[in-house]
Symmetry: C2
Subunit: 344 residues, 2 copies
């Protein structure tokens, strides 16, 4: 029996080095002037501009849930990184922050440089869309714990906001308007239920049409549709009109997220028929016999972000969103209340 080595134990340092070489140009493509040093130091360095009087750092971490399992099953690794960035940076803008930098963590059953390049390529694309620098990351090979094509992606984002500009619900008042930004698909939430319904209950396969209609996307296309990154759109709206609150619609749906942008004396009333609901949600409800309340709790139902503006600013907000390629609708109003979301 020959001596044990790390490689024989399933961890390939050489494959890791090869993967690092492949992702270097992708990572550098995201750099902003504030990034110091280069890849390979112990930590990522980001010089904070001194234009802030009283800077508050805002940070968040998130993953892509079991959307990763769909990507594994479909062997499509190039856009799930966009979803990861969306999940993180779009939480930052809810508190008024500008995304500055991002780090990713990839755990993988067997480190394949090509797969890593695609995964991190998606992260880099997301960072470019969000305008933040990808300044660090980690690849962890977990032989035994995961199969060869399996992976998990975790992201961390840091942004900055002037203390006086933090969105904390205090600017929300009765009589304001809710502008909903369109989500063309599931984003990264509700995948355990969607997979259960589509694959276990309905017996669909990834390359089946997502619904019975000529020209329908495949189940894989629909489930792997990249998340919209709203941060630049929200920043552009805030550049034109006063934004009073922002809510990123993730797990918990509109009801479980919009409340976080409110305060104790204001409710939000949302008209559920005020936007175009993507077909996939109707298919899921139908195939899974899912009650409307459960659908609204688990899925975004076509609204990925809600921005609270003054009633006279709706038109401008919708137009700015359109300029950024994001459809938007007036989906409700705020009224006197207790911090609840009323879905109607």
């Amino acid at each position: 029996m020959s001596g044990a080595t790390y490689d024989a134990a399933g961890v390939s340092i050489e494959a890791g080095d090869a993967a690092v070489q492949r992702i270097k140009p992708l990572v550098r493509s995201t750099f902003r002037p504030e990034v110091l040093g280069d890849i390979g130091s112990f930590g990522g360095l980001f010089a904070l501009s001194n234009r802030y009087r009283d800077p508050v750092l805002v940070s968040t971490t998130d993953g892509v849930g079991t959307k990763a399992m769909v990507a594994s099953a479909a062997g499509r690794f190039d856009t799930i990184g966009i979803d990861l960035v969306a999940m993180c940076v779009d939480d930052l803008v809810c508190q008024g922050a500008e995304p500055l930098f991002f780090l990713d963590y990839v755990s993988i059953g067997r480190l394949e440089p090509d797969m890593i390049e695609r995964l991190v390529g998606g992260v880099a694309e997301g960072c470019r869309q969000a305008g933040c620098a990808l300044i660090g990351g980690e690849m962890a090979e977990h032989p035994g714990a995961m199969g060869a094509g399996e992976f998990d992606l975790v992201g961390f984002a840091v942004g900055v906001v002037e203390r006086s500009e933090i969105l904390d619900g205090s600017r929300v008042e009765p009589g304001q308007a809710l502008v909903g930004l369109a989500s063309p698909g599931l984003r990264s939430n509700g995948y355990s239920l969607a997979r259960h319904v589509l694959f276990e209950r309905a017996g669909r396969r990834l390359d089946d049409p997502a619904w019975p209609e000529p020209g329908a996307p495949t189940v894989a296309d629909e489930l792997l549709r990249p998340s919209v990154i709203y941060a630049p759109t929200v920043a552009a709206i805030a550049g034109q009109v006063q934004v009073n609150g922002v809510a990123h619609i993730t797990g918990g749906g509109i009801g479980g997220n919009l409340n976080r942008a409110l305060n104790a004396h204001t409710d939000a009333v949302v008209a559920s028929d005020s936007w175009r609901r993507p077909r996939i949600f109707d298919e899921l409800a139908r195939l899974g016999d899912i009650e409307a309340a459960e659908m609204a709790k688990v899925f975004n139902l076509g609204i990925g972000m809600v921005v609270v503006v003054g009633p006279d600013d709706v038109e401008t907000a919708v137009a700015v969103a359109a300029d950024h390629g994001v459809e938007a609708w007036a989906i409700g109003t705020t009224v006197a209340g207790t911090g609840q979301v009323q879905l109607r």
Copy 2:
């Protein structure tokens, strides 16, 4: 067939809410005055002191590798979070940064509030040791992808350093001294090899003695020994003497990490017999018939951190470390060279 729900699909929102309630006091126990708001907002808020003239943010992400699998197998979840914090914050101090805040990501097969409480309790303990605030985190339930007692932990740390104080290798000169800080165990590196050797080659079980001697720790005790968090010790040394470089010894060993603290005209010469090597490393080498070069590449061999100081400052550095409960040794010197580490 009744309608599908998220809970039936394996994701328990109620268990998640229960876990959040349990970890709230743990998380709050780490707060520093700079933390704004409380748990439950979209992002964690940290007000950056304005005492910095030219602040540079340093950030890092890391996991605990397959040490998590040992913790799962042993059913011991309360200290692996300390390892997580150690892996992250001790990278920050290599660039001269003070750790400010931390976020954790827990992915888990089945969300059990008690297990989450232990895992996050370890993270909070690590954050208190490191002096950084735990200001955010995410729990992801991955039914199907992981078994009930399986988990992965990912950490993310942000620190700050004055631009003029960044450790980038430029202060290292020939004739300086290498002070090694003791690591009593494997830290979080080399676990795939250690598990392979102990469990597959040697057929050991978790509750077997780690070596054949009365009073020996069990394999589980030895493999789950919490990582020392060196950040406060390094900061204390830097408060007493000039620190020219710092290297966190993780995967790659001394040779693969100390080089990152050097510059292109200086080598480090390390005397491998200059510190007390913990018994576990000898056992691993013996049981696995692992060559010395492979041992040095995979494991820390008893040195978890190397601090480069002036030759006259060694005594002070060692004494300060002792004050923090960390044994330290002069383990070598720097000489004219090309940025290489010479292990002798």
